[in-house]
């Protein structure tokens, strides 16, 4: 077997790769924060006694959980500028980067909605009773008593999902945004060193994700132990 690997392209490529990693992490943070925020709102809507409100949220979740992420990325890339144009009447290209942010936040929100809803339902009903009995309003009860407990219960799931989101950020290549993997691809193609770049990318993803999952595991076990 004659493996002729040439790693000399790597050092020069590092700044560009780092820039790609920066975008991957930014996308992860946006999908996590946006997804959790939007997902919490959706979860509250799904638990609402108002049928219209709860079925809207159910439909949202149903749709986004039934389509591939790639499709959601395309939709946002093509549809969001059209929607803005329809509202504002001016052609407003938002660029692939922002449409990626929006697509990921909206897509992950559907998942987090289900996670947070399960978390809320796992908090004993007596907690709500006790909080209301102290004179707190329903909104205060949800925000300060129920949601913190729900998020805490669901933290292992949320952390595990973050790792998956980080891996999934590589899908933005479909709208030509350079995340870490996209940057590696570009350099590899330019310098005809795809194998070296993909091996390197693989090692980086492995180290980051493996370390993160070990961290989640340790954290979960500590919780069970106490």
């Amino acid at each position: 077997m004659n493996l002729s690997l040439d790693w000399s392209v790597l050092p020069a490529a590092l700044p560009f790769l780092l820039q790609g990693m920066g975008f991957s992490i930014a996308l992860l943070v946006v999908s996590l924060l946006g997804g959790l925020l939007l997902g919490t709102g959706l979860a509250l809507m799904r638990l609402s006694s108002n049928v219209l409100v709860s079925s809207f949220a159910a439909a949202y979740v149903g749709i986004f959980r039934s389509i591939p992420l790639v499709l959601a990325i395309f939709w946002c890339y093509l549809l969001v500028p059209m929607l803005i144009e329809a509202v504002r009447g001016v052609h407003t290209p938002i660029g692939p980067m922002y449409s990626a942010f929006i697509a990921y936040a909206m897509f992950e929100a559907a998942y987090f909605c289900e996670v947070i809803r399960a978390g809320i339902l796992s908090v004993p009903r007596g907690q709500t009773g006790a909080s209301l009995a102290l004179g707190l309003t329903r909104a205060q009860t949800m925000r300060h008593i129920i949601l913190p407990q729900a998020l805490r219960t669901m933290m292992p799931l949320i952390l595990t999902k973050s790792i998956i989101i980080f891996q999934d950020t590589s899908l933005v290549y479909v709208i030509s945004v350079s995340d870490f993997l996209g940057a590696a691809t570009k350099i590899g193609q330019r310098d005809s060193r795809l194998i070296e770049l993909y091996l390197f990318a693989g090692v980086v993803y492995f180290i980051l994700c493996f370390a993160a999952s070990k961290f989640v595991e340790a954290r979960t076990h500590r919780k069970v132990a106490t």
Binding site: A130, L132, G135
Partner: protein, 244 residues
């Protein structure tokens, strides 16, 4: 202080309270007992509107239930409630449990809320537990913290919903002692409990409920005194729970 007037309540089509009426005077201690499913917990939860009523009304001081949702928080803040399962907030420390509603509902300053919390913790004998989380406390300790939490709100009256039913036997007394002290200080109390010893010693009146109705409502020495003073249904209940 508390006046319950012809209260009826339904869960769907099932009627769980039938035309219940009674009064609790200021400083009075009333024990509510009866077999499980008799509606005693439900009745107590109606008093601070945790359970809505469909008929009749409840007057607490100058507040009347049913009331619009916007007024309920003010009513609830004035009525202290202690639950069977303590319901301390597990993500907060003992101290945070005690100060949170004081700050959010009564708009007290942090210093004032803190001072009051420390005072009541001392009173229930848990002064050194401020920084602990509820999960680190025994059941009896948690229930005493729950009582302190309710007292921090300066309630006009206190409701207890089977406060010792979820406790190990050796922890029942520490909670009953706190409640007895409270009664001695003149707190108006309505207490759902199976602790007949506490009822006969501390209660001024005993209400016996069965199938959603108030069957007996009499002075506690009458209830426990003779065999003929209370209803036959209550006598059967008493003979069952006292015989073992």
């Amino acid at each position: 202080m508390i006046s319950i007037e012809n209260v009826s309540k339904w869960y769907g089509k099932t009627q769980v309270l039938h035309d219940c009426s009674t009064r609790v005077a200021a400083g009075e201690v009333v024990v509510v007992c009866g077999p499980s499913g008799s509606g005693k917990s439900t009745l107590v939860k109606c008093i601070n509107a945790l359970e809505p009523i469909q008929k009749g009304r409840i007057v607490i001081g100058d507040a009347v239930i049913p009331a619009p949702a916007s007024k309920l928080t003010a009513i609830r803040a004035r009525v202290g409630m202690v639950f069977q399962h303590f319901e301390l907030f597990p993500h907060m420390t003992v101290l945070q449990n005690l100060v949170f509603a004081q700050i959010k509902v009564l708009r007290r300053s942090h210093e004032e809320a803190h001072a009051r919390a420390v005072g009541y913790l001392k009173r229930v004998g848990l002064a050194s537990f401020e920084a602990k989380h509820p999960g680190q406390l025994s059941g009896g300790q948690q229930q005493r913290v729950a009582i302190a939490r309710a007292l921090c709100m300066d309630p006009a009256c206190m409701l207890f919903d089977e406060p010792t039913s979820a406790l190990d036997p050796e922890m029942v007394n520490e909670v009953l002692e706190v409640m007895t002290e409270l009664a001695a200080e003149g707190m108006t109390m309505m207490c759902v409990t199976h602790e007949m010893g506490f009822a006969s010693k501390v209660a001024d009146r005993v209400i016996f409920m069965d199938e959603g109705r108030i069957v007996d409502d009499c002075a506690s020495d009458q209830f426990f005194g003779g065999t003929t003073q209370c209803s036959e249904r209550a006598q059967r209940f008493l003979s069952k729970i006292i015989s073992h």
